[in-house]
């Protein structure tokens, strides 16, 4: 296992995914997840620009300018893939046909509010598919470091950044722990890589229940 917390988070988040699931992976840590999936994980990756069945990046000599993901990186299409237009793609998302969205965030609150598209005082000129994904996907997993680059907790009592959606997050994976929202309450369900409850408490302003059913492997 790498020392890079981003990779540790991706590796843990990969274990959340179940065979047969349709998953949309956001930019950043979520995009590291495929390398931590077993070859037989049987996850179907959806990208909102119009492809179900995203495969690994192509070889340099097999680049196809018509085949990209929503991060505008070149990708491939696996056997059984399907292309569709943007209205159909977001119909899938908004209609609840994407099982899981994994995405990064600036802040997630104890009630599951998520802020991941805008910083106060800066331009709010790019939202892309973020709002559709957090509202539409059946399950929303946030992968992020516990603190911002400024050292501020990102799991918070109340979001101060503009919301992407209220009460939308199901699971949070940081380098310290896994939080799950259960019946409206934030629960610490797993400590990662030797972190303690005190470590988690120090890195959040959110209230949470401690429900450590399993320890980190």
């Amino acid at each position: 296992m790498t020392d890079d917390p981003r990779h540790r988070i991706a590796a843990r988040a990969a274990r959340e995914l179940r065979p047969g699931e349709v998953v949309n992976l956001g930019i950043g840590i979520p995009n590291l997840i495929p390398r931590y999936l077993d070859a037989d994980a049987e996850i179907f990756v959806h990208t909102e620009n119009g492809l179900l069945g995203v495969g690994p990046p192509p070889d340099e000599d097999a680049l196809d300018e018509d085949l990209i993901d929503a991060a505008k990186r070149p990708v491939t299409a696996l056997p059984g893939a399907a292309y569709f237009d943007s209205a159909q793609s977001f119909a899938m998302i908004r209609g609840g046909h994407v099982d899981t969205a994994v995405l990064g965030a600036l802040q997630v609150s104890e009630r599951g509010d998520i802020a991941n598209w805008a910083v106060p005082g800066k331009d709010v000129l790019g939202v892309g598919g973020a709002m559709d994904l957090v509202v539409g996907a059946r399950r929303v997993i946030v992968t992020m470091t516990a603190r911002s680059s400024d050292g501020e907790p990102k799991v918070v009592d109340r979001c101060t950044y503009p919301l992407t959606a209220p009460a939308a997050v199901d699971t949070i994976v940081t380098e310290l722990c896994v939080f799950r929202r259960v019946e409206g309450r934030l629960c610490l369900t797993e400590l990662l890589d030797g972190a303690s409850v005190t470590d988690v408490e120090a890195a959040t302003t959110a209230r949470f229940d401690v429900v450590l059913a399993t320890q980190s492997a």
Partner: protein, 225 residues
């Protein structure tokens, strides 16, 4: 991610097993324009092997007398129909007039759009169609650009029964000619979508540009016998 190309295939199911997912009181969408594109094998299985009753059927027609959904009608298992054209089955008209089934009539385009909306997570839509007519009675109306519109709710179902000429083992579907009609819409709008396919191909055999229903919409796959 299964980079070897062997993605999870749907288990093939018999029509009898598949329709066991229809429960009494369910809303069931059934594809087809008349009998063209109707999942006749699944309907027959529902008629012969299921006891589910008190059903709400969402289908453009209620079959024809003694054919397709007309069989289910004769069994008295339909409580309500949501359709654009009951008239193609005089027995359905008679059942409505006798108070045996409840009828909700929608303009065909509104019917199609409402199913699409149900599958697409749209909470309602404004259409000019039907405004100023009997079919708008009791519905919220508002002006849009000086034209009266009706606010229509989405349609969703517990189970959708659809027919496709071809499927692959993941559940991707391809429809043929005018047998497409309502099938791709209904496939998106139910909790459980059961597809009856004329031919079931290996994964990768359908052209990815030409798949009409991507597999994430399909829960069960039955081969037409």
């Amino acid at each position: 991610m299964g980079t070897d190309g062997t993605m999870t295939a749907l288990a093939l199911t018999s029509a009898e097993e598949a329709v066991a997912h229809v429960n009494s009181g369910d809303t069931v969408m059934v594809g087809g324009f008349g009998l063209v594109g109707a999942p006749l094998g699944l309907i027959d299985a529902l008629v012969e092997h299921s006891d589910a009753t008190d059903l709400t059927i969402v289908s453009n027609n209620i079959g024809e007398p003694g054919r397709g959904l007309g069989k289910l009608l004769r069994q008295g298992r339909i409580r309500r129909g949501i359709s654009s054209y009951f008239t193609s089955n005089p027995e359905a008209v008679a059942a409505v007039n006798a108070g045996e089934i409840e009828a909700t009539l929608l303009p065909q385009g509104t019917f199609a759009e409402a199913i699409r909306a149900g599958g697409a997570g749209i909470g309602g839509f404004l259409t000019p169609v039907g405004a100023g007519t009997l079919l708008a009675e009791g519905k919220e109306q508002r002006m849009v650009g000086g034209v009266p519109h009706v606010l229509e709710p989405p349609l969703r179902a517990d189970v959708a029964l659809v027919y496709a000429a071809r499927a692959d083992r993941l559940g991707n579907l391809w429809y043929r000619h005018t047998a497409r009609n309502f099938n791709p819409l209904m496939a998106t709008a139910a909790r459980v979508t059961i597809a009856e396919a004329g031919e079931i191909l290996d994964v990768g055999e359908l052209d990815p540009e030409s798949i009409h229903t991507p597999h994430l919409y399909v829960d069960m796959l039955v081969e037409r016998s």
